[in-house]
């Protein structure tokens, strides 16, 4: 929006009627020559590539998953057994694992991220803002396999020795903390996911907060509000849809994450509410079993991929609808900015 608004503004100021022209196929008038037409169609052909690619790939996946879809039908989604020996495949344990670990990531990651965003947008001294934002964004640049390596040897001992025993003592009576602290479980996977979504959620939330008009803050401050009250009443209220969108984007990232989860979740194909039990997510199942799958199992794995794709798609389209209201560009890449 930052971008678009300023450009539209420019057009309006120019007042040359160009804004109207933009509605047509090109921003400025018709194309001049054959060369230009050729250029346009060449560029268009390239642009068509992604479009065709996505459709082609989706169709290809449906085709490859055909056997599994024919065999299990809708029961695939609620089947809770994944047994290559008997050739019975169900997606439930993995959908469960994905949703549970992603929910944990959101539960832990979002409050942290919003805190970070508030600090960066409202509290930080100006000279510190940019280096800090940069550090947070660098978190997104670290390859996920390195997160996994780190989680295995640095985070896991902390989980086993300190964090998991603590939660077990305090919340051991709930079904969520049964079993022994092993460190290769849904808890560790959830924590590493939380760390990984922070840069996405924090930077989008920060953008949302910084887009809040200064007048909102000034109004609150002039009524004698403290900075905390200003943030709560003026900034957070105003930016809440953006922050919500940021959370959904973070959720999308958590759902699709593969390597770090595969390396920490313990890889057990079972449904268990205890965070101290190992589990499996859709993506970790694919990564773990890809090499050896054939026939019906391969087909079932691809169907898992489709389920993952659909969930990720719904989440992202949803996020886009919300975020798109106030901000055009959203970091979709986790690539550093």
């Amino acid at each position: 929006m930052v971008a678009e608004a300023s450009e539209h503004g420019r057009l309006d100021h120019a007042g040359t009627g160009m804004a109207k022209a933009r509605k047509h196929s090109s921003p400025i008038g018709p194309l001049a020559s054959t060369g230009d037409m050729l250029f346009k169609y060449a560029v268009m052909a390239v642009a068509l590539f992604t479009l065709v690619l996505v459709w082609f790939l989706v169709l290809m996946m449906l085709f490859e998953a055909g056997d599994s879809i024919a065999e299990f039908g809708g029961g695939f989604l609620i089947g809770d057994v994944w047994d290559p020996n008997r050739e019975v495949y169900g997606a439930l344990p993995f959908v469960f694992g994905t949703l549970l670990t992603s929910a944990m990531a959101i539960l832990i990651g979002v409050p942290l991220s919003v805190g970070v965003a508030i600090y960066l947008s409202e509290l930080s001294p100006p000279w510190l803002r940019e280096p800090l934002s940069f550090l947070v964004e660098l978190l997104a640049a670290v390859p996920s396999v390195i997160y996994g390596l780190w989680a295995m040897y640095a985070l896991r001992p902390v989980m086993v020795d300190t964090i998991e025993p603590f939660f077990k003592t305090v919340l051991g009576w709930t079904p969520f903390f049964e079993g022994e602290p092993i460190g290769l479980d849904k808890f560790t996977a959830g924590i590493i996911l939380a760390i990984m979504i922070i840069p996405t959620v924090a930077s989008v939330s920060k953008e949302a907060m910084m887009a809040v008009p200064l007048s909102q803050r000034e109004a609150a401050l002039s009524l004698g509000a403290t900075r905390y009250e200003t943030t709560r009443m003026a900034v957070l209220t105003y930016a809440r849809s953006g922050i919500f969108g940021a959370c959904i984007l973070g959720l999308g990232r958590a759902i699709g994450e593969t390597m770090a989860v595969t390396m920490t979740i313990g890889n057990a194909n079972l449904i268990s509410w205890s965070l101290l039990d190992p589990g499996q997510t859709m993506s970790s199942l694919i990564a773990n079993n890809w090499g050896e799958a054939d026939g019906l199992q391969l087909s079932a794995l691809i169907e898992i991929g489709i389920v993952l794709f659909v969930i990720a798609l719904v989440v992202n389209v949803f996020a886009r609808l919300i975020v798109g209201r106030f901000m055009k560009a959203v970091p979709t890449t986790g690539g550093g900015l």
Binding site: N85, S203, N288
Partner: protein, 385 residues
């Protein structure tokens, strides 16, 4: 990306670049050079190395069992030197299941598998079995307070079925008289990928425990109750090493190489036996083997009789096509010859590396069967060797 958007506002304020001026050409040149450099390196490297390839380098690719992987990688390395860096053997691991899938799809030239193919599988696909070494699966544990754990088949089965969940269970106590067992609960560690090690181990458990047989059965992947899954023998080894109070099943070589303690197992004759090269070979002493292209699915040295025979032992196989030419893999004649030469070398000279890596060398009788098998391999109908 919104970050970029914002930054870009600056561009506008700073002025506009017309093409002839060059403007911040430095940045542009830097970036173009960086990308170009990557592409050029790519092109040159591709050129150099693939020209090298035309001088007669042959790449043989294999995938599958991680059980014999250290040995096969060692062979690959030695053979590469032996052939003056002419023959590269790429062994990708990935588990026996992966190996079988990939050789069926003709993505690899040979597969490693700890589980033999079924009779129909080997005849349908025309694959032959070449047992390349013998291995033992040991029950490794991480419970420092127990120096010398003794277990029997049914107890192991109950531990992995989660019927026994604590170390001081009476069943374990009965097998380890005089040992003070800790009260910790047992964490079982299993293979998350489909594997021949699991096939051998679950085969043993199914043989000694009817309950295990009915509930779980033998397979390359088993639905273990409530266990941590780790990928490959290395993964299980490392997970057992780093997880207190855990128990898992791994190939003997991994346990010895990495100083992981493992249990003595009560054998068919009622003796507690430590897994070793000798006790593994002892398990194979009395077995009769079919020809390479015959039905190997019944070959089994689990729970073999013999005073010193270790009960969880198995051959591990290399699978190749009997007729090496096919349209899909387009393997050429040179590669076919090199593949057979490599395997010939592996079952003869290669066996000397078995010992140092804790694999049991093949008995002479098995080497003879392998010779016959390799001599029967054809390329477009003509024998290769």
């Amino acid at each position: 990306m919104s970050g970029i958007a914002k930054r870009e506002e600056g561009t506008r304020e700073e002025g506009i670049v017309m093409p002839h001026k060059g403007g911040r050409a430095g940045l542009m040149i830097f970036a173009v050079l960086a990308v170009a450099a990557i592409i050029v390196v790519a092109a040159i490297a591709t050129g150099m190395l693939s020209f090298g390839g035309e001088k007669g380098t042959v790449t043989l690719s294999g995938a599958g069992a991680t059980f014999p992987m250290p040995l096969i990688l060692k062979w690959a390395d030695e053979y590469y030197n032996e052939t003056d860096e002419r023959v590269q053997v790429n062994y990708g691991g990935g588990g026996s299941g992966a190996g079988i899938t990939q050789i069926k799809d003709k993505h690899v030239d040979f597969a490693g598998s700890d589980a033999p193919l079924s009779a129909t599988e080997s005849s349908t696909f025309g694959l032959v079995h070449i047992p390349e070494t013998l291995g033992a699966v040991v029950v490794a544990y991480n419970e420092p307070s127990i120096a010398d754990l003794k277990l029997d088949g049914p107890t192991i089965a109950r531990i992995f079925m989660k019927n026994i969940t604590v170390w001081n269970d009476p069943a374990i106590g009965a097998l380890n008289p005089g040992v003070t067992l800790p009260t910790d609960s047992i964490t079982t560690v299993v293979r998350s990928d489909s594997s021949g090690t699991t096939f051998v181990f679950s085969g043993y458990l199914a043989k000694v425990s009817t309950e295990f047989d009915t509930l779980y059965g033998q397979g390359k992947s088993v639905i273990w109750p409530d266990a941590i899954g780790a990928s490959g023998n290395p993964g299980v080894t490392q997970t057992v090493k780093t997880t207190a109070h855990s128990i898992g099943y791994i190939e003997l070589a991994y346990a010895i190489e990495n100083d992981v303690p493992f249990a003595q197992v009560k054998n068919h004759d009622g003796n507690f036996v430590v897994a070793s090269l000798e006790s593994t070979s002892a398990a194979a002493a009395g077995v009769t083997l079919p020809a390479g292209d015959g039905d190997w699915s019944q070959v089994n040295i689990l729970d073999s009789p013999g005073a010193n025979a270790y009960p969880i032992a198995s051959f591990t196989y290399i699978l190749i096509y009997k007729e090496l030419y096919n349209e899909e893999s387009e393997m050429n004649k040179t590669a076919a010859e090199e593949l057979v030469s490599f395997l010939w070398w592996a079952v003869h000279d290669g066996q000397e590396y078995a010992d140092e890596l804790h694999y049991a060398p093949l008995p002479a009788s098995v080497v003879e069967i392998n010779e016959a098998t390799l001599e029967s391999i054809t390329y477009e109908g003509a024998t290769v060797r």
